[in-house]
Amino acid sequence: MTQPAVALKTAGPFTPEQAARLESWTRRYPEPVMGLIEALREIQDWHGEVTLADMDHAAKLFAVTHHRVREIVTFYPFFSHEKSGKFRVAVCRNLSCHLGGAPSVIKRLEEALGVPEGKATADGLFSWEASECLGACDQAPAFAVNDELLGTATPAALDAALGSCRSGKAPVAPASAAPAAPAYPKAWLTKDFAEPALHTLPVFRRFGGYNAWQKARAMSPADITAEVKKSNLRGLGGAGFPVGMKWETVPPKSKRDCPHVVVANADESEPGCFKDRVLMERNPHALIEGLQITARAVDADYVYIFLRGEYARQKRILEAAVAEAKAAGLLDKDVLVMQGANAYISGCDTALLETMEGKKAWPRQPPPFPTGSGLMGWPTVVNNVETLMMVAQVLGVGGDAFAAAGVPKSGGTRCFSVSGHVERPGVYEFPLGTPIEDLLAAAGGMKGGRTLKAVIPGGTSTPVLTAEEAKGLKMDFDSLRGKGSFLGAGGVIFLDDSVDMVDVLHIIERFLWVESCGQCTPCREGSGWATRILERIKGGAVVASDPDNLVRLGENVTGKVICALGDTVGMVAVAMVKKFRADFERRLEKPRG
């Protein structure tokens, strides 16, 4: 699939067709450089790596400096610096998948392929990696081949996938299976999920799809925003910022005469969260509808879905849905799906904008906020996938009715990703403020009837809660804050009493260390240091000062860093050590001998 070495030397690294394809990326977006990362993705796919000659070509094509291209290629894990296999097998090693048995799958895979992580097999067919969260905690331990999520890595599934690769065919996930009926009878987003073809336009419309958009089309932008404000809809990507209030900070064109932008943040990568993936698979038109409404509210010229790099199948589904909607004349603004290159930090709104601008994802430090100066300096609204889908619900049921479904200051329902030690991991939609017990019951209760030890309430970036703290806990932004944690993106991980919290913290800190962008010092150094301390503790070389040192380290990071990832490095360590100190001190009793 790659060019012969001779061609590399004489005719440049690309076929004429490939060169033309790369050139087309310079024309896809309003600024050529916005196509840079996706062009590099194509090169990676063609060559199995991005060579210096490739970087040289890209730098010239996109009129950027060489070091910027290399910064991108060395920053984003999608790109490899030595040739990867034709089929890249990834097994998720993050928390839920770890609990689901990832370590043994990884061992199996390594034995089956006979090469260490990151190295291609002799025939060039395979390489593998133990990856960070793949966004499929409901299918733990999840695996993917060439970014195609293939579900649970059972021995049979893994063998089947490898077999398919050996026969030269990249395995493709089956069309989405209909998930179980929603647990909550008043669910909005997931109410029609039992319908297998919901992702197609006719079915979506049969269930009332795009009615909210037709309604919004007849409304003034100010009225749309007013309705959203009334709904008390808050950002469901993690920050919980009131949506209407965010939109209001976008300057009108009379004040900022330049393009305005709406971006759906579909870079879901928080370990424990997979609801955006499921929502986009099952209900892509709901996102497109929400985007059209939002674009109208803020007078946007460009509308993007920034999709995490590993969601290959979701990209196909979304693009098909966009094409359908476009053909049906439903789009006032075209919607482009843009892919990142597999960096967790790209999910942070300002880092996401950097990625979209063809740079490494180093978060910006507001002010200015993206609504004032975002993509390319243009006013930009970045909202989470689920939030945008809820915008359509707000218009559909009306702001007041939406608000009534939640708690004061936080209206409506939200989709919780439930995983860990539960019987039926999955996405469950409940009104905000629902007691956590209802979530657990919906997910079938604790696996094997074991005892609950702890809950990570909003994805692994949120401080852990003890079973005691979780008792009767209302799942909404403000209640969680009251417990010293966060609702985050709603990724709830239940942990039973078999779990050692040293392992859990190690997995979380290792993830943050791998994903830390390295821009600011406390996070760059603190995440690695914490990881190494935890590795040492796991290895038995624990010292009495370790628990206190982890707390001190954590407190020194939180609040002194640029973005929320950095804050997380500290917060999770502090909470874990303080609340489960016994798990750390137990190690002291059995010193390395």
Binding site: L52, T65, H66, H67, R68, R70, E71, T74, F75, Y76, P77, A343, K360, Q365, W513, V514, E515, S516, C517, G518, Q519, C520, T521, P522, R524, E525, G526, S527, G528, W529, R532, I533, R536, V543, S545, N549, R552, N556, V557, G559, K560, V561, I562
Partner: protein
Amino acid sequence: MAKLVKFNLDGREIEAPEGQLVIEAAKDVGIEVPHYCYHPGLGNPGVCRLCVCEVEGAPKPQMSCRTAVREGMKVRTDSPVARRAQAASLEFHLANHPLDCPVCDQAGECHLQDYYQGYGLYKSSVREDKRHKQKRKDIGRAVMLDQERCIQCTRCVRFTDEVSKTHELGVFGRGDRSVLDVYPGMRLDNPYSGNVVDICPVGALTDKDFRFSVRAWYLDKTPSLCTGCARVCSIEVHTNTRRPWHTDGRRVARYKPRYNTEVNRWWICDEGRYSYKSADSPTRLKASSTLGADGHAVQVAPADAAARLGSELGRHISERGADGFAFILSGTLSCEDLFAAKQLISRLGVPASNIVLAPAPEQLGEQDDILRRAEKVPNLYGATALGFDVSRSLDRLKAPLWGAWVVDREAPAAFKGLPFTVWQGPNAVRFTSEARWVLAASHTVEEKATYANFQGRLQRANRAVESLGESQPDWAWFGAVLRAMGGDFPHQCAGSVFKAMSAAEPAFHGLSFDLPAEGAPLVAAEEAVR
């Protein structure tokens, strides 16, 4: 000028322009806020998280480099919270730093060391192994990179992006695996590459020329000027006279840029930076000499030389007339030198058409829109201000000559046969050995002197080391010969020459030899010349 606002900084009521960064306002009143990534010439990315301050009303600590001054705000950079955060930031900076200070050239002028002394924890809790990266990477003509020592403040990357605009450097990779590096196949060979060493707060980028020569704490520092081109950058001359064996007897160890908002801001070019070598070069003349009867040079003491030269010159002039004698002066001469030369020329009656001061071809070079000027001599502006015609080139000398006095430049081959020639300067050139008289002159680092750069800004160089051997300033030579020939030149020091010059020369009226650090513009220089 922005509106002045009052605010409280570390318990002091101070006034600063509204919107000024706290870190700058603090510096202006003598409060140091430790910092790595912030550099006033390179923007404020706020990545090192060291310059922590507490702002009343803010929910969490702020960075002094990203907080603008507002009326009535209360800021503390010395509160327990701020100090603890600064200490914590330093601990993180050191978590992967190799601490190889004993073999690091930056030791003694390292901001990791300095700040740790001032603000650190003094107690290491790091039990973990450190990350290893490349220790010695030759990345350019002037610079050696140690990736382990790098704290990723990105100053150097911003310098190559924003100032030199050459884009050789980047931070490649992610998280604590990222490294500072040059783009593969590129070299950090831009004309300003040495500046990345100056702005590197640690020992990650060291100067190959200075590396392993002398410890920073043995150096004496003298504010002075680089006279390598018409920009005349403000510099510090770093001299090593306490441990001469460390630099093989070289007294001048290096030049470093000195901030001058009017001239060079924080930077100097590599050409200027390494021009210090001429001060201790083997070409330096330590003594004056004259050609003996057998055609060999004979050393002559300075006082003798002036007397004998004066009498010979007087005889030639009375015999052949002053019309046959020329002065080939150089723009490397200071204002004091040129003022003294002017007195001598006037005494001798040499016609203006026989005075050449235009730069020689070898004194022209590259120019850019950063600092470098094509004119590689510093003081043409000063010469103009003193009434010299700097446009007359050597090949326009018309009169048949019997003699010439050439200063600090090459002379045409035709001068070789002239009956009476004088060559004066610090470093010998080809013509030096042909001249009847050779007068050893001081180097710029050896004398107080003023130079007016191409903008007309007059700045002063200072004496960093004593004049080598029997060399003496050019003005002293002109003055001594003038006195020997019966003229009046009472000055014993450059300050005295300057005083006379400022009285006599309109362009220098009202100026004092004690110029401000950034210099001062010559008084209506252009009008004074006309």
